[in-house]
């Protein structure tokens, strides 16, 4: 862009604008801190002793301790080990994410690179299933699970989470694959490249970031899910969110311990989310916003 220094109407702007920019930047910082404050408070509370955590007014200068975390992980003696629920959550999230990818990537291929007829109708069908409240299909699933002795099994959750995340995954993957330039595909086929070569050499490199983003979204939604897990699991297959709700009702309230638990359970999503902020935006807006 060529912008000469001889533009009179731009000359008086900088200082005033700089001051306004500074004020707005400060405002942005204040908003950021305000939104972050509850999370910071959660982490700080998790590092206090139970009596300091429940102090009123709050004691900012109270000594830090890992007591809440030790209690949460069961080293404190009382309470149930959080490891089985954490392992359950990890299993359900990871396995269902893998299944989602196995099902969604070929489907997205069929909807974008060599599209079937009426592909947009198919795409809308996928998306429309996402618009229906989950709760409407819960009862039949419960009854089937009851009769097939699948209640309280983590594999039932794996199947449901796969179905829950598949529509979004197909949608996202399609928009990522649609970015593969048609000219390159044509050139490859003229050069005599077969389907496997085209897929591994041309499509895969372009699709990889998209696959990563899709996997991330699918993992987060599975990790966060509460309703299905609460209704369909019990003592054996309970996931981390279910465990978290039980932590309060069964033993009364230990604020530091609950905050420690909330922090630990949120940690995988927080780390993944911070690492892939841009991908997250693209994914959550269903790939429609670029």
């Amino acid at each position: 862009m060529t912008r000469g220094p001889h533009l009179p109407e731009r000359a008086p702007l900088p200082r005033r604008q700089r001051r306004a920019n500074g004020a707005l930047g400060l405002l942005a910082w204040l908003c950021g801190i305000a939104f972050f404050l509850p999370v910071a408070w959660m982490v700080l509370t998790s590092l206090h002793s139970e009596s300091d955590a429940a102090a009123n007014p709050p004691s900012l200068a109270a000594p830090l301790t890992l007591h809440g975390y030790r209690e949460f992980f069961g080293a404190g003696g009382a309470g149930v080990s959080p490891w089985p629920p954490l392992v359950n959550s990890l299993t359900a999230s990871v396995v269902s994410t893998l299944l989602v990818l196995v099902l969604a990537v070929p489907a997205a291929y069929a909807l974008s690179i060599r599209p079937v007829r009426k592909w947009s109708d198919v795409l809308f069908f996928f998306l429309s299933t996402k618009m229906l409240p989950l709760v409407a299909g819960l009862l039949p699933v419960y009854l089937v699970a009851q009769n097939t002795r699948m209640l309280d099994s983590i594999w039932l959750l794996v199947v449901l989470y796969t179905a829950m995340n598949l529509p979004i995954a197909v949608w996202m993957m399609r928009s990522f694959l649609a970015e593969v330039p048609v000219e390159i595909l044509e050139a490859a086929s003229i050069d005599g490249a077969g389907l496997p070569t085209t897929l591994t050499r041309i499509v895969a490199p372009v699709a990889m970031p998209g696959i990563a983003a899709t996997a991330l979204i699918s993992f987060i939604f599975s990790w966060n899910e509460l309703l299905f897990a609460r209704v369909l699991t019990g003592t054996v297959a309970g996931t981390a969110p279910v465990f978290l709700t039980g932590l309060v009702t069964s033993q009364g309230l230990f604020l530091a311990k609950v905050c420690a638990a909330a922090t630990v359970i949120s940690l995988p999503v927080l780390i993944a989310g911070f690492a892939a902020q841009d991908k997250l935006v693209q994914g959550l807006s269903l790939g429609a916003v670029k």
């Binding site: 942005a28 939104f35 509850p38 009123n56 599209p115 198919v122 409240p133 978290l244 604020l255 916003v289």
Partner: protein, 294 residues
């Protein structure tokens, strides 16, 4: 040839139909039966009894109102806040990346954890941060009698809404920020050179460009917030007029064990959602059409 093209699509399609559509068909069938698990001998065909019960049940009608109010409030407020924050972040300033990360954090906290955080660490009347800060402030001015409102009892729905607004504003901001950054810079530059004020630029350039993104954010937010279960379940357990539809169905099914009525409620919710979904899909399809013609 056509089959070879369709083959990669089929596993996903068959799986999705089997796991989401078949249960819904079963829900429709069950909604016409009299079936309470606590009274197994009374099972039978109920015709429209369950639906009659659904529409005459004051608790359910109340929960429809609650759902609409909760969803509308959370979506509109977080959309407005999200727009303001996106505009703030759409300019260069020191530490912009850090501020964005701070702002995204609420969206990344596991929903149940965030609901517990608000309920116990912030709202709690005797040791929550809100009342704790009031105590601290009052002491600062030498008073030993700070107001200590019971937030969740005084305004239960607002307590739920506030925690959801906190959680969803970052989502709105992210989508709108993506929209702002795809705004053609040269048009804005040209308008400025022609003497347009910042407000004019916002009103006549930014806002029209953002319309699609605003619609998309609102619709996606609606789809997720209508279905919200975690916050209502955790913060108020549906008490004091905060039971929304998903929570009410959960109760009918899981606590009252009235399978027939829960199914009828589910069908009604689906029909209502279809109304919203039609609008949502139309918006998304217009985005898609734009992409194809590009």
């Amino acid at each position: 040839m056509a089959w070879a093209r369709r083959a990669p699509l089929l596993p996903a399609l068959v799986f999705l139909i089997a796991v989401t559509q078949l249960p819904f068909v079963a829900t429709v069938v069950i909604s016409f039966t009299r079936w309470n698990a606590l009274a197994p001998d009374h099972r039978g065909f109920a015709a429209l009894d369950n639906y009659r019960a659904v529409f005459t049940d004051p608790a359910l009608r109340a929960s429809v109102g609650t759902t609409v109010l909760l969803t509308a409030t959370v979506v509109l407020v977080s959309l407005g806040l999200g727009l303001a924050l996106a505009l703030l972040l759409d300019r260069r300033f020191r530490g912009r990346g850090v501020v964005r990360t701070l702002l995204i954090t609420p969206f990344l906290v596991v929903p149940v954890a965030s609901a517990l955080l608000w309920k116990h660490a912030l709202y709690n009347a005797s040791y929550g941060l809100l009342n704790g800060s009031l105590t601290w402030l009052w002491r600062l001015f030498g008073s030993d009698h700070p107001p200590q409102p019971d937030w969740m009892t005084n305004s239960p729905l607002m307590a739920v809404e506030l925690s959801l607004i906190w959680q969803w504003t970052p989502f709105m901001m992210l989508i709108l920020l993506a929209g702002l950054q795809s705004r053609p810079a040269d048009a804005v530059e040209a308008a400025r050179m022609d003497g347009a004020s910042p407000f004019d630029v916002f009103r006549y350039l930014t806002l029209p460009h953002l319309r699609r993104y605003l619609e998309l954010a609102a619709l996606l937010g609606t789809v997720y917030i209508v279905q919200n279960f975690d916050a209502v379940f955790t913060i108020t357990s549906g008490g004091l007029g905060t039971a929304n539809l998903p929570y009410t169905i959960y109760q009918t099914f899981y606590q009252a064990h009235d399978y027939g009525r829960a199914s009828a409620q589910g069908v009604v919710v689906v029909l209502c959602s279809l109304l919203v979904a039609t609008f949502a899909l139309r918006t998304v399809s217009s985005l898609l059409r734009e992409e194809i013609t590009r």
